[in-house]
């Protein structure tokens, strides 16, 4: 059974309960941030912030202030999973794409592959981290932590086809149902207020055609396991290097 979460910017008040709920649930440490010129903080996804709210001012004589939640899109055909040489990056039947830290070797092929710039490499642990769609919660009969917290139902969750059908019947425009290269996503965006603006760069700027990045994907396919083995080795060395560096700096 496939599930989906939806972000509805019309309802978002930018309170960032979702951002912190995610951090608390996933036990990610707090980051040392600095002044943000537009409230977005940290300014982009990080290995410790699986989701952020992006704030953006749109000014055309009158001002608008829009909020966009960023996190993993949980693609139907996730390029990161294809790119991952160790099977650490996994897709579940619910539609969740998550990384198993114990299998991650820090090669960062997924980072390269992701058209949404989601997986983030943590120099400390030498592993990649990202939103898990709260697969652990879903399997426990709970809503994803961010959805659970959202006070205004800007975040909703449900069975993917039901959610899509319901939103459509209520007149929402949906982003993510079908997308080139990734098939579609299990994180959707829906709006009535901002129709036509979800992909407008002046507004939300979601990619109309999430481009697979060059390099990573075909490389694995062409060279197969052998190269992947090398990659594993390289990454292990890389991770060891970073760990040593961190020790030094202590």
């Amino acid at each position: 059974m496939e599930y989906a979460s939806v972000f509805i910017p019309d309802r978002c008040i930018g309170c960032r309960a979702c951002q912190t709920a995610c951090k608390i649930w996933n036990q990610r440490p707090v980051e040392k941030t600095s002044f943000s010129p537009d409230f977005t903080n940290p300014p982009s996804l990080t290995p410790d912030s699986f989701t952020i709210i992006k704030f953006k001012e749109v000014f055309d004589g009158e001002v608008k202030w829009i909020m966009l939640k960023e996190q993993c899109m949980h693609c139907n055909d996730p390029p990161c999973v294809s790119a991952c040489p160790t099977g650490a990056m996994t897709k579940t039947e619910e539609g969740a794409v998550y990384v198993r830290p114990e299998k991650c070797i820090g090669c960062q092929y997924c980072v390269e592959a992701c058209p949404f710039d989601v997986p983030k490499y943590d120099e400390g642990s030498g592993k990649v981290y990202k939103c898990t769609m709260c697969i652990d919660r879903i399997r426990d009969g709970k809503l994803p932590a961010c959805v659970e917290a959202c006070p205004t139902q800007a975040l909703v969750f449900g069975k993917k086809d039901e959610v899509i059908q319901k939103l459509k019947s209520e007149g929402f425009e949906i982003y993510g149902e079908r997308l080139p290269n990734v098939g579609g996503t299990h994180w959707l965006y829906a709006t009535k207020e901002f129709k036509g603006k979800l992909t407008d760069p002046k507004y939300f700027g979601l990619p109309e055609s999430p481009a697979a990045k060059e390099g990573a994907l075909p490389a694995i396919r062409e060279f197969g396991v052998g190269v992947a083995g090398l990659a594993i080795l390289a990454s292990l060395l890389h991770a060891a290097y970073w760990r040593a560096k961190k020790e030094e700096s202590k």
Binding site: I135, R137, E148, T152
Partner: protein, 1221 residues
């Protein structure tokens, strides 16, 4: 109920889910192995329910409580971030009592300094060095210093005859509450029990020098609304907001300050039944969701609101509507007065209001049209428009006027007292409504009860007691009493009959409450002997301290100018950051010889403390809290406080015990040698003296009672809760004495059945005509004052909105009510609220036929009926401990006949629970509740500054208004530097401000209707002439016009005009209008949120919102450091350049508005010396003294990078490393 919620189906555990995913170091908190503990959110006043997942004393996660109708399982970021506040997570929490070992700064230094960095460099040298001590040692230290200060100040209870305050030849015994040398400030984060006990302590000390945050946030709301409607509170509940048709947010920003309150707003907006209109000087998160938004100049709200009325009267012609004519009868004005009022409103046409506010004319019209067309009178009470506000309306010298204007709009448009309509001041702190109700305030006692000011009032009170503690309808005051209290009586000799007007009703309510205080606190107020109240040789004794004290704004004068205040006891307050013109607070705290602070972190204020006591956060205590919409909910303990930290209630009571033990607390009655009261009544016919019982006088402060926790066993909040029910009439009914159950604990969200009290309105059987959704009141979720009424003043709802009738039977003899209800079937027209009946122990309707204005303050008593029966409250209480701990009173009453009497047990009359007082409210009482559409704040004639001043209402003032304006304008001419001398000249000439001399007297406007007045620092000379600043009416504010000798610099600390500011402004700077704000992520002074890593991560550094065109002119980019200055000081923060701040056209000139968030200071894990309140002026509202921090003049320019000082703890408390499991 709504389409939206159906989108988030609860997900079932499907079989395929059985395989768990191992996310390793990510995620998967094993909640199944935790204990769930429910509590109420510690941050804002929405009152969201929380479920904590705990393991021992550790807290793993928190979620919203899905049962709670206020949040339905949802939370904002602060609620979520709560987990980082616990001692187990937050290494910065205070754990031990500490005493300072190093010297404090020299107070004079601060007064001279103007630069935040300079002040900080000086202050840093005196950063406290602490020594850890035991509680015992800390209390001993405090007690010793306290005693010295009392001695130094010569506090005394005995006063000789002076013919004014004391009219007894035998002398009077009372404390002057404004002379007590130790101020108390106790924050709005305290629980109700703590708030009550701290005010009670001050009363027992003999002090009214006590105040709290509410002075600085909503005092003008309370004064404006209470005087108009009866109570200073939000009239709708948060769930009720969903029924509103047009919601005008004026001077509030709920998406930032009360995020979860936006839930019903967003839902109804999407459904299309609610239009959100936001008018604000800053485009914030709420504005981002508005259907209609307008920037306006801060400080022009009356003008804006009057334009709505202008449209209503002159375009919509509402005064011709039947609905209007009918509704206006619920107020104190008639159609003739409405016509007079209309003349005032006429001055505020669209062009004029646009000139004042900066809102374009077409936008004004759109707003007014939408608002008026969806009002009660325009829709025959089917749809309603409602107003929300917070500090944007309150923090002005015109604060009370702003709120009055909002209330008048709602009264004129028939929007008051219906589901989906009302007035919604969203309170700030989670319990600021409760701490206000408990009156941690210098001018009232718990429950908004009058403070006595002379011995005649005490004599009148003693006489009232002798009449059997009657309600106003059964009260026969003597001529002396009528005179002493200013009652309207027609007397024949000393036999008077009282006109039961609002004054009489209020005095009888105050007296009833004074009696409640006496019986529960173990004190005495009256004469000795009791039966000769007017004998000039009777001693007058009052354990209630006289006179209004110093408040949060004026206390700096009390310290620095008057030299009365020498010490301060603070609980959970951080005035070093929150007080206006902060350097005066820094100076005051430095000058004080004893500063005791109980808090959870080492705050900015702690830098001035001599003793620092570790308190507990809300989740570490238990007790009741009152949310913004007056619902009491019980907040449970989730974990123990860290180290040796203690609940604040424990600290208060233990400190009191120590002070009492050391002879520091001595009641006036003790000084007078009075240790028992002969509770006496006089037979109305035979004039015989009847001593009903005797009670010992000894202050009661024993709350020990078994509990599972040791600290609660020593001081048990549940016992205090019961005392509040008995002591504070406003909260009476929150405890069910029949079942010994605190109703704040109820957690039933299910609807009532239609047969129960208010069942029809709560059952969901009725659909709201605006939304077509079922109406719910949630009557069994917690408890709401007054008498569990959920929608204030809801007299007409059933009848007008739903076209329904309901009835209630009072079978003969069944309930403890008077003859007017007993044995009758009565019609119910709205929400009645309820009381636990003292005969049946079940709920019966309270306000019959519905709740009207002022109700709760007006009442009747079943057990005292003139010529028939006389009863003390609760049937008499000999022992407060028995009352509180066992729910027992004496339960006796005196039955009267023409020539005799009989003392009997109330139980013989069928009363099973005499502790449940027998108040009731029948149609006669309900009818008295009229809203004061018109309400003069200055009345009568008095001598001010040696001149005779007569205060006149608009009706008379309108003859003089224009000549006052033109006389003043021509004095000022075109020179902004003339403004101040002209104000001075007028005050000197006429004695009073906003006044004019005619025929040998000064006539001054009484302010019975609001009008636009420019702020104390006005950017427009033209407007400041036409709409002169009202600030100078207030004696405290006159300090800045006529500075005191000891602080001559105050004269330069207010810039009345731009011209005055420009004299101090650097050449390369630009003048601006400033406002201050807090943020969604940061809480008030930031003392809690800056030490919360989750919140600090989101907004770590101080900044200012700067309008884009202004930034461009000055070459400022986002992230640059800017200097922002005012006549008080200058600070350095980062620039956030944005289109969300306005460039306004005000009377033909460009005005830029800059906004600075104020939750930043120099202590804690994220620090800056640039405290925004260094900039704000402490000129106050002319009624309540609330500071004008929402509009003042300043300048801005780019500053060198090194002026910006921002520091943080090298290592943040790292939540992950602290260990979760």
């Amino acid at each position: 109920m709504l389409g939206a919620s159906a989108l988030a189906p609860a997900i079932a555990k499907a079989e395929a889910f059985e395989e768990k995913v191992d996310l390793g170091s990510i995620g998967t908190l094993e909640l199944s192995k935790t204990v769930e503990r429910r509590s109420i959110c510690m941050w804002c006043s929405v009152g969201c329910g929380l479920i904590f997942y705990t393991k021992g004393n550790d807290v793993l996660d928190v979620e919203g409580d899905p049962d709670n109708p206020l949040n339905r399982g949802k939370l904002c970021v602060k609620g979520k971030a709560s987990i980082a506040m616990f001692g187990s997570k937050n290494p910065l929490r205070l754990k031990n009592p500490m005493i300072r070992t190093n010297p404090k700064p020299d107070y004079k230094k601060f007064i001279e300094m103007k630069d935040a960095d300079e002040m900080y460099n000086y202050l840093k040298q005196f950063k406290p060095v602490w020594k850890e001590v035991t509680w015992e040692e800390a209390f001993a230290y405090i007690s010793k210093k306290w005693k010295e200060l009392l001695k130094e100040s010569n506090v005394k209870a005995y006063h000789e005859y002076d013919g004014k305050v004391c009219d007894s030849k035998a002398g009077c015994y009372f404390y002057e509450g404004n002379k007590y040398p130790i101020m108390i400030m106790a924050g709005a984060k305290l629980l109700n029990e703590e708030a009550y006990v701290i005010r009670k302590m001050s009363m027992l000390f003999g002090s009214n020098n006590i105040d709290h945050d509410a002075r600085r946030c909503h005092s003008s709301t309370v004064a404006g609304l209470a005087a108009t409607l009866g109570f200073g509170a939000q009239t709708q509940s948060f769930p009720d907001v969903g029924y509103i048709a047009v919601y005008l947010i004026l001077g509030g920003n709920p998406a930032d300050a009360h995020p979860v309150s936006m839930k019903p707003v967003i839902e109804s907006k999407e459904r299309g039944t609610l239009k959100l209109v936001v008018v604000d000087p800053k485009f914030g998160r709420t504005a981002a969701k508005a259907n209609l938004f307008a920037f306006h100049r801060p400080g022009t709200d009356v003008a804006l609101l009057y334009y709505i009325l202008h449209y209503a009267f002159y375009e919509k012609k509402i005064d011709q509507l039947e609905a209007f004519k009918e509704y206006i009868k619920r107020t104190n004005v008639d159609m003739e007065e409405i016509n007079e009022f209309k003349e005032l409103v006429k001055r505020y046409d669209a062009n004029e209001v646009s000139k004042i506010t900066g809102v374009p004319v077409d936008k004004l019209k759109k707003i007014a049209e939408l608002y008026v067309n969806n009002s009660g009178v325009a829709t025959n009470f089917k749809r309603f428009s409602s107003i929300e506000w917070a500090m944007g309306l309150t923090q002005h010298t015109t604060g009370v006027q702003n709120i009055r204007a909002a209330a008048i709009v709602q009264l004129a448009l028939g929007n008051m007292g219906f589901p989906g309509g009302g007035l919604n001041p969203y309170r700030g702190h989670n319990n600021v409504q409760g701490t206000t109700d408990m009156c941690i305030l210098a001018h009232v006692f718990p429950g908004y009860i009058k403070i006595p000011s002379n011995s005649k009032q005490i004599r009148a009170y003693q006489e009232w007691k002798l009449q059997g503690f009657p309600d106003a309808f059964n009260w026969k005051p003597s001529q002396s009493a009528c005179k002493a209290l200013g009652l309207k009586c027609s007397c024949n000799g000393n036999e008077c009959s009282l006109e039961v007007n609002s004054k009489a009703l209020l005095w009888s309510w105050w007296f009833m409450n004074w009696r409640r205080f006496e019986l529960t606190m173990g004190t005495f107020v009256g004469t000795e002997p009791e039966d000769r109240p007017w004998d000039e040789n009777s001693k007058v004794i009052s354990d209630l301290p006289f006179f209004v004290g110093y408040n949060e704004i004026t206390y700096v004068k009390g310290t620095l100018v008057d030299d009365v205040l020498k010490g301060i006891l603070l609980f959970a307050e951080n005035p070093a950051v929150s007080d206006p013109n902060a350097k005066l607070t820094w100076a005051s705290l430095s000058k004080m010889k004893l500063v005791v602070l109980a808090d959870v972190f080492e705050t900015e204020t702690a830098w001035f403390a001599d003793v620092l006591l570790p308190g507990a956060i809300q989740y570490e205590k238990e007790g009741s809290i009152t949310n913004s919409n007056r619902w009491l909910q019980w907040s449970d303990r989730v974990a123990l406080p860290p180290g040796d930290a203690k609940p604040d209630l424990w600290i208060m009571v233990k400190l009191y015990e120590r002070l009492r033990q050391d002879g520091i607390v001595r009641l006036p009655s003790e000084e007078a040698g009075k240790n028992k009261e002969e509770v006496t009544v006089i037979h109305p016919y035979t004039k015989e003296k009847i001593v009903m019982y005797e009670r010992p006088i000894e202050p009661y402060m024993d709350y020990s009672y078994p509990s599972q926790w040791e600290d609660f066993s020593e001081v048990n909040p549940r016992i205090v809760y019961r005392e509040i029910d008995a002591a504070v009439d406003l909260y009476n009914g929150m405890y069910d004495w029949a079942h010994m159950y605190p109703l704040a604990k109820r957690r039933v969200a299910q609807p009532r059945s239609v047969k129960e009290v208010d069942g029809l309105l709560d059952s969901g059987a009725l659909k709201h005509p605006n939304t077509n959704t079922p109406l719910r009141l949630y009557k069994d979720w917690g408890w709401s004052w007054p008498k569990n009424v959920r929608i204030l003043y809801n007299l007409w709802t059933l009848e007008k909105t739903f076209g329904m009738e309901d009835y209630w039977e009072f079978p003969k003899g069944k309930y403890a009510v008077g003859e007017s209800l007993d044995g009758r079937r009565v019609r119910i027209t709205g929400e009645t609220g309820e009381i636990v009946d003292s005969k049946t122990g079940t709920l019966r309707p309270a306000f019959v036929p519905g709740h009207n204005f002022y109700l709760g303050k007006f009442y009747k008593r079943a057990w005292t009926v003139y010529g028939k029966q006389m009863t003390d409250l609760f049937g008499g209480v000999a022992n407060p401990s028995e009352l509180m701990k066992e729910g027992k009173s004496l339960g006796i009453t005196v039955l009267i006949n023409k020539n005799g009497y009989k003392v009997v047990k109330l139980s013989e009359l069928g009363v099973r629970y005499p502790v449940q007082e027998s108040v009731y409210y029948d149609p006669e009482v309900v009818e008295k509740g009229k809203a004061l559409f018109k309400k003069p704040y200055f009345v009568g004639t008095k001598v001010v500054e040696g001149k005779k001043v007569k205060y006149v209402d608009w009706k008379e003032w309108k003859e003089y208004h224009d000549s006052f304006i033109s006389e003043f304008s021509s004095c000022v001419g075109n020179d902004p530097n003339n403004y101040r001398p002209c104000v001075k000249k007028f005050i000197e000439k006429y004695g009073e401000w906003f006044a004019i001399g005619r025929k040998g007297v000064t006539l001054a406007y009484s302010l019975d209707y609001p009008m636009h007045f420019e702020p104390a620092e006005s950017p427009s000379l033209e407007l400041a002439k036409k709409y002169p600043q009202i600030a100078w009416r207030k004696p405290f504010n006159k300090m800045f016009i006529f500075p005191p000798k000891v602080l001559p610099q105050l004269g330069a600390e207010i810039a009345l005009t731009l011209g005055e500011l420009e004299r101090q402004m650097p050449k390369d700077a630009k003048p601006i209008v400033l406002t201050t704000n807090r943020l969604e992520e940061h809480w008030h002074t930031g003392a809690l949120s800056r030490n919360n890593p989750y919140l600090a991560e989101l907004v770590p550094e101080p900044f200012a919102h700067i309008p884009e065109p202004l930034a461009k002119e000055l070459g400022i980019k986002s992230g640059d450091v800017v200097e922002i200055g005012s006549a008080r000081a200058k600070i350095y923060v980062r620039a956030m350049v944005t289109h969300r701040m306005p460039k306004l056209d005000i009377a033909g000139e460009t005005v830029y508005n800059v906004n600075i968030p104020w939750p930043f200071g120099y202590a804690g894990s994220h620090r800056t010396p640039s405290v925004a309140n260094l900039l704000t002026p402490e000129v106050g509202d002319i009624i309540t003294s609330i500071q004008e921090s929402k509009v003042f003049l300043g300048w801005i320019r780019k500053a060198p990078k090194d002026k910006y000082v921002f520091e943080r703890e090298a290592e943040l408390p790292n939540i992950r490393e602290e260990g979760w499991l």
